[in-house]
Amino acid sequence: MFRKKGRLLAHVLTAVLMLSFVGCGEKNPGTPTGQGQAETANLTGSGSSFVYPLLNQQIEEYRKGNSNITINYQSSGSGAGIKQVSEQTIDFGATDGPMTDEQLKATKGGQLLHIPLTLGAVAVTYNVPNAPKELKIAPTVLADIFLGKITNWNDQQIANDNPGVSLPDSKITVAHRSDGSGTTYIFSDYLSSISPEWLSKVGKGTSLNWPAGLGGKGNAGVAGVIQQTSGSIGYLELAYAVQNNLPYAMMKNKEGKWVPPSLQTTSAAAAAATIPDDMRVSIVNAPGADAYPIAGFSWALIYKDQTDKAKGTALVNFINWSIHDGQALSEGLHYAKLPASLVSREEEMLKSITFQGEPLIK
């Protein structure tokens, strides 16, 4: 009987050892797989959780036509994606906030490119008794609410933009994300762009030192706080607000027009914004009559010089497919499509990616 147990232990140990070896193999995507097997490639990516549902579906769809390519994307968060791609432990990263110059200098594999994968919008949602579905909230009013300066729904400044609507004498409870997120980045980027006070007191980032309010974990947490708290206001990913049928506010854009958040108004913001060559751009408060002002990109992070031809080719081909045909999957999942003018510029960018000086696609 003891012997039997000993053998069982040995089996378990062997299994553990084998598993740990397998683990090592997977952790090293940087190892060249050799020139002879150019057809098959195993890509690992990690980062933004915002882009995950779309990317995951795109990967599945892409595999239908390219069964030799395996892509494994982990939604570990933008911060982790940046860190891992900088250290070259993955083949590509994805982020909701652009990398800083400092971060770009610290990468191990040379120049990293930012390639927009999709667009996201942030909706301002609220739970106010008797309030209409599309309450109008002016930019400065929004900033003052989140700064804790406007504290009651019957404030004259809110009423000014909503004639005919009688809002209750009810305390405003601000709800925000407590977990670091690209949604918070876009939202604080917007508030920083329209309110000097917000910019100096709070600033923009994935996590903030919030002047007011309660934190909820994830979109679900914020939505939960809002639904359960009368008089609350908060912000959510547009997709989440739409899917859960929550009321969202109309925002006043740069041209002074009231615009509801939607996939079209988000795409319009990207089309109207001036986008620099490195694509690291904020599109909050973009010009254009139809542009929704609280929007932002999610980018793929890819090295300009690829160290493995098979993997590099597979990666560039996949991203190229993702920004073209892959965009057809966007609307079903409530992501905004990349505007056509941008896609052609991104294509040029993909063509500039090389292996030993040779471009990977023509």
Binding site: G77, V202, G203, S207, L208, N209, G215, Q228, T229
Partner: protein, 314 residues
């Protein structure tokens, strides 16, 4: 001496001894290694902020200012609140099940109490958001403010999400641990003790107080400390109801933040090294607090266990 020699010279026993020793040591090595790794990763933050990390109240990732005090405060207050609520109830459950209940009833209730421990913490969290927090905001907090509002603990606007919610949810979560362990140790009290007390004409309560509780107290203490350990480290359920606001306010109605929650919330999007390092340092502090508390718990259990087994009959 000679007997011991014979035992250990056997080849198989020696191997077993070595193997088990290795396993025992591996736990120590793992602990030390984890501590070192965390210390190493936290070093940039330790060097930059020094002791002010523990005393600073500001947590601002945008301006690179990090202080852990609000998180330490939130963790300790919610855990202690949970302990204050769960320890007496857990003990009561154990006493009832062990000494009073009929065996059928005991089996059912005992099973249900232990079931509480099997519920995933995220489920507790959801229950907290959708049931507990609204109930606190509408009923409990206004009531407390009305009757006990002269105490700073019960002042302020009822929001629902805050330290009271965090403490309550933790109390429910650690209740089964305390109840189950207390019950085990009480069951281990020899029946002769009970019979002796009853034979002297003790009532049921006197019997429990004089014969059972003193006998089981070190085990009960151990159970309470295990519960405290769980409360300190609980993440998901707490973050869903505590309001996630790094503030230090006296009112239990106020939102707060806990150490485990801030790590879980901000770790994935910590975009620069100092930020990450500050989060790891919070982990290190949590590690330290747990260690110190466990040490004192051991000390307590040990000193209690050394005391006389019987109670003082007054």
């Amino acid at each position: 001496m000679s007997k011991k020699r014979i035992l250990t010279t056997s080849m198989g026993d020696q191997t077993l001894r070595l193997l088990t020793l290795l396993m025992a040591v591996s736990v120590l090595v793992l602990m030390a290694w984890m501590g070192w790794q965390m210390f190493d990763a936290a070093r940039p933050s330790i060097q930059k902020f020094g002791l002010s990390f523990i005393t600073n109240r500001v947590w601002d990732p945008v301006k690179e200012q990090f202080g852990a005090l609000p998180f330490i405060y939130g963790t300790l207050v919610t855990s202690l609140l949970a302990l204050l609520l769960a320890a007496p109830i857990g003990l009561g459950v154990a006493i009832f099940l062990n000494e009073m209940a009929e065996s059928k009833f005991r089996a059912v209730v005992g099973f249900l109490v232990e079931m509480l421990a099997a519920i995933p913490s995220v489920v507790y969290g959801l229950w907290g958001i959708f049931v507990l927090a609204p109930w606190l905001r509408e009923t409990v907090e206004p009531g407390l403010a009305k009757w006990l509002g002269f105490i700073p603990l019960f002042q302020g606007t009822p929001v629902g999400f805050g330290m009271l919610a965090g403490g309550l949810i933790l109390a429910v979560m650690i209740l089964p641990t305390i109840a189950a362990i207390s019950r085990e140790v009480m069951a281990a009290v020899p029946n002769m003790q009970r019979e002796a007390a009853l034979a002297l004409g003790a009532t049921k309560w006197e019997m429990i107080r004089v014969a059972v509780l003193p006998y089981a107290k070190s085990g009960i203490m151990g159970g309470i400390m295990l519960g405290l350990g769980r409360a300190l480290g609980e993440t998901m359920a707490v973050t869903m109801v505590i309001g996630n606001r790094p503030d230090i306010l006296p009112s239990l109605f106020a939102p707060a933040y806990s150490m485990a929650a801030v790590i879980a919330n901000e770790f994935t999007e910590a975009t620069y090294d100092l930020y990450l390092s500050a989060l790891v340092e919070i982990g290190l502090i949590l590690f330290g607090i747990t260690l110190v508390l466990n040490f004192f718990a051991r000390l307590l259990v040990w000193s209690v266990a050394r005391g006389p087994k019987g109670g003082n009959v007054v």
